[in-house]
């Protein structure tokens, strides 16, 4: 039962990274200094999906609270600065995208576009730091010492945050090759390919720093899985690059989507059966005590709660997926000048 909920939580968060990831990627690319028309076209490509994308985050946090209440409290408060950053970013992007076209003046619009860029950067860095923070462990819970910021900010977490930023940028550009009118595709495809080396470097750096970090080595229960993550990321990125070169936009988007989804299952598997590890000073305590480890089973809500939510989720999750699929189907294909423009 816990495992099923853990998987569902992973599914929602991974889908959020894929879908929200291209929102933020497209948001980042607004910084390119393109013409107002091009920026609007890019946002319009996201258009009808935008509201449906970020609810995956809302639902993931709902599942976290309902099915893993203990984890919710420990995780969010343990990685406070990362969550704050991500949250501020999500808020800025949400407001910026929807409000940018409401004023009529060009300067106001340019200002909101900058808000969207800043929000996208913050959101990508924040979620990257959160995933890195999971691999590195959080300050010990419940010992009365309030958590500060120093615990989170290590070179490894910074590298993980930058890696997600780079992945999101590649993903956003790839998404545009799939959605923009055919005439605009070559330039975004070139951009996506141009961003690849940056993404590969960022992933490599994060891997190297992770291998060097005592805390990461102490927290990870299955090193083999953890090493698989960067390898798989590199493979998907190379695949996306090859697909872009051949003009196979769908395949390239599938590959970058996998790249954004992968960190979630692999981080989960690398820590399994733990979810959260308290790392204080690994040099002083190389052997983790039981108290320092929160397993999936400990973190889960008790039986009746999970059963109740389970009966509810059984019919509901297919319905949710169905309505999202309806949205993708109705608005499938490339945008053209005639598509309704609202953002």
């Amino acid at each position: 039962m816990e495992l099923a909920w853990y998987a569902l939580l992973g599914l929602f968060f991974a889908t959020y990274l894929v879908l929200g990831g291209y929102d933020y990627g497209v948001g980042l690319l607004l910084a390119r200094g393109a013409t107002p028309g091009a920026r609007r076209a890019a946002l319009n490509a996201v258009g009808p999906f935008f509201l449906g994308n970020e609810v995956w985050l809302v639902a993931a946090v709902g599942i976290l609270f309902g099915a893993f209440p203990t984890l919710e409290g420990e995780l969010l408060s343990g990685l406070y600065p990362a969550v704050l950053g991500a949250l501020a970013g999500v808020v800025l992007v949400t407001a910026g995208v929807q409000l940018r076209s409401r004023p009529r003046g060009g300067t106001a619009r340019a200002f909101w576009d900058r808000v969207v860029v800043a929000g996208s950067v913050l959101a990508a860095l924040g979620w990257g730091a959160l995933l890195g923070g999971l691999l590195q462990g959080v300050p010990p819970a419940g010992d009365g010492h309030p958590a500060g910021v120093g615990h989170l900010f290590t070179p490894f977490v910074a590298a993980a945050a930058l890696a997600l930023l780079a992945l999101v940028a590649v993903h956003g550009a790839t998404f545009l090759t799939l959605r923009l009118p055919v005439a605009d595709v070559p330039s975004v495809a070139r951009l996506a390919r141009g961003l690849m080396p940056a993404a590969l470097t960022a992933v490599a750096t994060a891997t190297a720093l992770g291998l060097l970090s005592d805390r990461v080595r102490a927290a990870v229960a299955r090193p083999a899985v953890a090493v698989l993550l960067p390898l798989a990321l590199v493979a998907t990125l190379l695949m996306a690059r090859a697909a872009l070169r051949r003009g196979r936009a769908g395949l390239a988007f599938a590959a970058t989507s996998v790249a954004l989804a992968l960190p979630v299952p692999l981080v989960g598997a690398a820590l399994w059966p733990r979810v959260l590890v308290s790392t204080v000073d690994p040099a002083a305590a190389p052997q983790l005590t039981d108290a320092a480890v929160l397993t999936v089973a400990d973190a889960a809500a008790s039986g009746p709660t999970l059963a109740l939510l389970g009966w509810l989720a059984l019919p509901l999750v297919p319905a949710l997926l169905g309505f999202q699929a309806m949205c993708w189907w109705v608005f499938r294909g490339r945008t053209d000048g005639r598509a309704p423009v609202y953002w």
Partner: protein
């Protein structure tokens, strides 16, 4: 600084901002459903124009509902980790249900509704708005289930210091839920109706060329507000029953309170178990506002032969009354939430035990940062709303037909 104080301040500010927007959402979406359905049934163009105009304002308002709502949701984990540790098994369930049943679908439907004009068949487009409205009500319901549980914990048993769910049905029949939900929904309708009437009144006072359209929305808004204010008063007074019985410390004294405080003192140790005076101060003002808004009934006869428009001063009254429902909702929530202090979950979990072990500096950063961020966004949003409302109904961006060179036979998907 005390992290507890900071966390409480942050919760109070973000929820209040959130509620100022969602109360409008709840009211307007109901009115919009009526408008679009009327347009669908009668085929009169005025209803489509009304739907686009009010829909534009609704969607603008919705932006901040989402932005602040997301912050709310994370705040439980960020600042109140004790809440999830001790009562998460019970309190988390309605919140999880809410996100899955309500928000997820609500936003998915709304995205399709915004972009679906001229693209979807009219029936499907209308069904999407119905979906948005039903899920909005569902979200309000489940949030109130969660809140009612904090007011009066039921259906649980404590084992090893942690609350476990035993009876989910008890959460749904919680005596602090029903009247409060009715009261909140009525407050939404009053606020939405007043807003609609006031914006229309402003246009009519400016001698708008769109006379027929704003005359119609003035009437719809005013009648809605008048009907809803009556249920609002009813549910409001009805709440005193369960509150007085179950939360004797909330609004004043009596033997019940002394007995409860004595019981808590033996179980939790001596302490100050009376809520801050703030809680009952606002209550009287809210009730006063409730009766003032009840005067909407006196304006209804003036709808006859449009006397309300010809006399002009009633339009000014409507316009000036707009802030009242917003003040009242905040006062009402302060009464409800501050009144249950010093408990997060009344009689079960003291507020002090629920706060996260986070350094005060970090918490202060978060408080100031999010207050500034959401406050600025809220003010900007209101400015945009006022500007859009003032601009009138000739060509809102929402539902604008595709570019002029577009083909004139849009191919509806699902044809």
């Amino acid at each position: 600084m005390d992290p507890l104080l900071l966390a409480r301040l942050q919760f109070a500010t973000t929820t209040s901002i959130h509620f100022l927007f969602v109360v409008v959402t709840l009211g307007l979406v109901t009115l919009l459903v009526g408008l679009q359905t009327a347009g669908f049934v009668t085929g009169k163009p005025v209803y489509e124009r009304l739907t686009r105009f009010w829909g534009q304002l609704y969607v603008l308002n919705y932006v901040l509902g989402i932005a602040t709502g997301i912050v709310m949701e994370f705040q439980f984990g960020l600042n109140w980790s004790g809440l999830s540790r001790y009562v998460g098994n019970v309190f988390g369930a309605p919140l999880a249900i809410e996100t899955l049943v309500a928000f997820f679908l609500e936003s998915t439907f709304l995205g399709m509704w915004i972009f679906g004009w001229h693209r979807l068949r009219r029936g499907i487009h209308l069904a999407l708005l119905w979906g948005v409205a039903l899920t909005a009500y569902a979200s309000a319901f489940w949030i109130m289930v969660a809140n009612a549980w904090l007011q009066h914990p039921v259906g649980y048993e404590v084992r090893d210091g942690v609350a476990h769910l035993t009876d989910f049905g008890a959460l749904l029949t919680n005596p602090t839920l029903g009247f409060a939900f009715g009261h909140v929904v009525s407050a939404g309708l009053v606020t939405g109706g007043m807003l609609m009437a006031a914006v229309s009144a402003a246009h009519l006072l400016r001698r708008t060329p769109d006379y027929a359209l704003f005359r119609k929305s003035l009437r719809i808004g005013l009648i809605t507000a008048a009907l809803a204010v009556t249920t609002l008063q009813g549910f409001g007074f009805a709440q005193f029953g369960p509150v007085g019985k179950l939360q004797p410390t909330k609004f004043g004294g009596g033997a019940d309170r002394d007995a409860l405080v004595a019981d808590w003192t033996t179980r939790f140790g001596p302490g100050d178990y009376t809520p801050p005076a703030l809680s009952s101060v606002g209550l009287g003002f809210m009730i006063l506002i409730g009766f003032t808004l009840g005067c909407a009934w006196f304006l209804l006869p003036l709808l006859w032969r449009d006397w309300i428009i010809r006399l002009k001063f009633p339009l000014w009254l409507v316009l000036l009354a707009v802030p009242l429902p917003f003040v009242a909702v905040i006062l009402g929530w302060i009464a409800r939430e501050v009144g249950r202090q010093p408990w997060v979950a009344y009689g079960l979990l003291p507020t002090g035990q629920a706060v996260s072990p986070v350094s005060p500096g970090l918490m202060l950063t978060s408080l100031i940062g999010f207050t500034l961020l959401l406050g600025t966004l809220a003010v900007t949003n209101w400015v945009l709303l006022v500007r859009h409302a003032a601009r009138g109904a000739h060509d809102p961006a929402l539902g604008r037909p595709p570019a002029p060179d577009a083909d004139h036979h849009p191919h509806p998907v699902f044809a």
